[in-house]
Symmetry: C2
Subunit: 141 residues, 2 copies
DNA sequence: AAATAAAATGAGTATATACCCATAGTATGA
DNA sequence: TCATACTATGGGTATATACTCATTTTATTT
């Protein structure tokens, strides 16, 4: 009665997990994981944002972001300071954070290219297109 | 110097997260999340497996499985008993677990169909194909 | 049979994630 | 200006996940 059809959700979860571990291994010598690289990148791109700005840019929960950022702080990659508005925290890359971001960027470029080669340009583009579709889905539930 | 190109890994992570929350909402009235539904389904399909069998079927870490199964045990959805080989634990669905699995299955079918409609058959198939490619990737790192 | 190897699991530790609620600070409207 | 509403964040709690190491049991090899 219950068969084992492919679940869109679980195949995506599995692929996501698999590719995350590939990227993590490719970045491992830099000391950061691909998720942390993403965070550092946005702190850089948004030029010392506060948590709400970061979480809006990353479409992630603020408290999640807060926790993840505090890990980067422990790792001396970012500093967290009170903003002029004292409710806010201003997040800045440390020098070590900038250095690490650049190293991670090099490693990221390599693994990204390798994946693109393995997958081929056409499938790569199809994937992006389909995932955009998925992220745009709003089901009435 | 550091631009914001699309990262295969992060777009997959985001899509995975997004679609997980869609499935979770669709299943919410059954009391289980889509990941837990997947676990229940495999306990059913594998007919009271032990942890190693489950983790092999799901390509997941054994200790992860152990923790997730103990959550299902707390929820009275499965029972965990010692096997004949006393190292093993035998995992069985309770009656409530079977009932919940069936309810979750109905909800899963609905949301799965809705997603397929939104996405279209062609993209659906492309997605599966591409994700299989990704899961098969073995980079020498 | 005794020693050793292998298998199954659990526990410790850690990250990533989200939800809800409390609190502190700021802005706004009467 | 004072009460109220809004904003930014932190903390509690919970799930999902993986890695490493210890322990218990079983299997294998002298």
């Amino acid at each position: 009665m219950i068969a084992n059809e492919l679940c869109n959700c679980n195949i995506l979860r599995n692929s996501s997990s698999k590719i995350t571990s590939i990227y993590d291994k490719a970045l491992s010598h830099t000391g950061v994981k691909v998720t942390q690289y993403g965070l550092l990148k946005y702190v850089y791109l948004l030029k010392s944002p506060n948590l709400s700005q970061l979480s809006a840019a990353l479409y992630q929960d603020r408290s999640t972001l807060g926790r993840n950022i505090r890990i980067l702080e422990r790792m001396k990659l970012v500093s967290i300071n009170a903003g002029i508005d004292k409710r806010q925290v201003q997040i800045e890359l440390t020098n070590y954070g900038v250095f690490t971001l650049k190293e991670a960027r090099k490693a990221w470029e390599l693994v990204q290219k390798k994946i693109e080669l393995k997958l081929g340009k056409k499938k790569q583009e199809q994937l992006i297109e389909i995932l955009k579709n998925i992220e745009a889905i709003e089901l009435k539930l």
